[in-house]
């Protein structure tokens, strides 16, 4: 059990996190004004997209304790609906974007009600199977590549993509910040700790798991919509690939699952390190990344966030 530090330290601690975040957001807002380098903007775009994706996974896995290995399905549904409405039906992007998030929620509810009967590892395998079934179906139904229409291509600009991803990342983190401060979260956390005990104390476990699922799938769907907005052309089954789930899982665990900062730190670390490795060692970068990840899991079971707080406690003790 961690004992509470004396009051002044605690108050300072309470505000450093949000303060650091606000400074980071302010910095991110002005980056496109400071630089024209497309690689920097693209890298940051990916960081934001992965923060949103990882944090959305964390909402269900970290807070409600449900290891969902079918997250790519929500990402994919969001991408598919947004892309189709936007490029084929000429719906304004903002509406198509929200519709993508909504479609992901509807899909999540449809599969969530039956699959939440499964516990633990069976839930993980069941959701993985569900997502794979959907991926194969989509690749059968939509084998043709989707490309932006000529007009959208002519006016393609990286900046709105950057700000969309930034805004989405901020919103997702905000929800993850507010959620533990609500009454709803008490039930969700109770379900995570012990489902039977929660049920026995009058918590409707299914309803609370579904609430976490709705939030998780909504932001995953919006992340998919951001993907659909960003890419000029791709095969429609690509956002359904299991790699989107695995990347979100890896990023969240590297940072620290069940914490607010974990997915932020993890996603940033994930994208930046992967990018550096791809430049430095090129061919074997995935292998080195895999090894690095295994080391984090074995050495720092709580992720980077826990390693940081442990290091800080150590410092405090020596002082």
């Amino acid at each position: 059990m961690r004992t509470a530090p004396p009051w002044p330290a605690r108050a300072a601690e309470r505000f450093t996190g949000p303060a650091v975040l606000l400074i980071l957001i302010a910095g991110a807002l002005v980056v496109p004004q400071l630089t024209d380098r497309r690689d920097t903007i693209t890298l940051l775009f990916l960081v934001f997209l992965y923060i949103a994706l990882a944090q959305s996974w964390n909402l269900l896995a970290g807070y409600a304790g449900q290891i969902n290995l079918g997250h790519a399905a929500f990402f994919g549904v969001g991408a598919l609906v947004t892309r189709d409405l936007w490029t084929k039906e000429d719906v304004p992007f903002a509406a198509a974007f929200l519709a993508g998030g909504g479609a992901a929620v509807l899909f999540a509810l449809a599969v969530g009600i039956p699959t939440f009967r499964l516990r633990g590892i069976y839930f993980a395998i069941g959701t993985l199977a569900m997502a794979e079934a959907l991926r194969i179906t989509v690749s059968n139904l939509r084998p043709q590549v989707t490309a932006l229409p000529a007009q959208a291509l002519a006016t393609y600009d990286l900046e709105p993509r950057y700000y969309l991803a930034l805004g989405l990342a901020v919103c997702t983190v905000l929800v993850a910040f507010i959620l533990p401060r609500t009454r709803l979260s008490l039930g969700i956390l109770a379900v995570r700790e012990d489902e039977e005990a929660a049920e026995a104390s009058g918590v409707n476990a299914l309803a609370h798991k579904l609430a976490a699922l709705v939030l998780s799938s909504f932001f995953a769907g919006l992340a998919g919509g951001t993907f659909a907005f960003y890419h000029v052309s791709y095969y429609p089954d690509r956002p359904f690939f299991p790699i989107w789930t695995f990347d979100a899982v890896l990023a969240t665990f590297i940072g620290g699952v069940g914490t607010l900062a974990g997915p932020i730190v993890g996603a940033t670390f994930f994208i930046v390190v992967r990018d550096r490795l791809a430049v430095e060692v090129q061919e074997v970068h995935q292998a080195i990344f895999g090894l690095l990840f295994i080391l984090v899991v074995l050495m720092l079971p709580g992720g980077l966030v826990e390693a940081w707080s442990r290091a800080r406690r150590l410092l405090r003790r020596t002082r």
Partner: protein, 294 residues
């Protein structure tokens, strides 16, 4: 109505199903005994396939003979992987164990796939022997030699595993540990050593399955996840701790996929298997051949 194609399809379903069963048996053993989920099982299978492919390609070793090399080699790989990685999660409590083993499996899958990509390139490989494509025809239905032998080898491997688990001390120790490791430990069984042996055997079985995959199917660095998923589906369909059950469930899945081709078309074969799996999971969580625990 011409029934020949239907029966031909069922025969192929049997062969494919035997392979599914073979891929699942190793995973089932590891999951049942160590209570860890090794999601890099498909990558280990891929590795076994490449061992056989390389032996055939470079030295002309018959793939059925190369099983005698691939299985011990993968056994050693299993020893290394357990000692270097999975051993460290064994002392965690159940939930953290499954979660961490899942994550290590992800990392390992990434490493193995990438290394295979460097060593063997992304090309799809398959072994074509002198007798590939030949077979016997009975009542208009073809039984290719390679696939028939594949099924026989798979069945023999499962038989051997069964005999090992029921007739030897080490095998009984494995079964005792899978039922209750604390009780087994109190009875003087070296539980840690049992874990190592079970994991290495599971890896060796993946290697055998890989050899069979390289015969008549294709081996590529990226096939791992698909086979892991197949094996997972079969393991859950069968229910835990049932070796023959896993084999039978594999054949059932193969037949279900083969039959579904007639109804939904070949491109939905995999989807039918996965949907079937989800339905079984929901209606009979203990699996088709498993016993209810609680």
């Amino acid at each position: 109505m011409n029934l020949e194609p239907i029966f031909q399809n069922l025969v192929y379903g049997l062969f494919v199903g035997g392979l599914y069963g073979m891929a699942a048996v190793g995973l089932s053993l590891v999951f049942g005994v160590l209570k860890v989920l090794n999601v890099s099982h498909g990558e280990l299978l891929m590795l076994g396939g490449y061992v056989s492919f390389t032996l055939f390609d470079a030295y002309g070793v018959d793939p059925f003979l190369s099983i005698a090399i691939a299985a011990p080699l993968l056994f050693l790989v299993g020893l290394g992987l357990h000692g270097g990685l999975f051993r460290w999660v064994m002392r965690l409590h159940e939930e953290a164990k499954i979660k961490n083993s899942l994550l290590i499996g992800f990392g390992l899958a990434l490493v193995l796939e990438n290394l295979a990509l460097r060593v063997w390139t992304a090309d799809e490989r398959a072994i074509t022997t002198g007798y590939s494509g030949e077979g016997v025809t009975l009542a208009g239905i073809v039984f290719p030699y390679t696939r028939m032998s594949g099924l026989v080898v798979a069945f023999m491997a499962v038989m051997l595993l069964h005999l090992f688990l029921t007739r030897t001390y080490a095998g009984r120790a494995i079964r005792a540990t899978s039922e209750d490791w604390e009780a087994a430990s109190l009875m003087g069984i070296n539980v840690q050593r049992t874990y190592v042996v079970a994991f290495a055997i599971g890896t060796a079985l993946a290697g055998v399955a890989g050899t069979l995959v390289s015969l008549g199917y294709t081996i590529a660095p990226s096939i791992g996840l698909a086979w892991t998923l197949k094996a997972l589906v079969v393991v859950v369909l069968a229910g835990l701790g049932s070796i023959f059950g896993a084999f039978a469930a594999g054949i059932l899945l193969g037949e279900a996929e083969a039959t579904s081709i007639y109804v939904f078309g070949a491109s939905y074969r995999e989807v039918v298997g996965l949907v079937l799996f989800i339905i079984v999971l929901l209606l009979r969580p203990q699996g088709l051949f498993g016993r209810r625990v609680r």
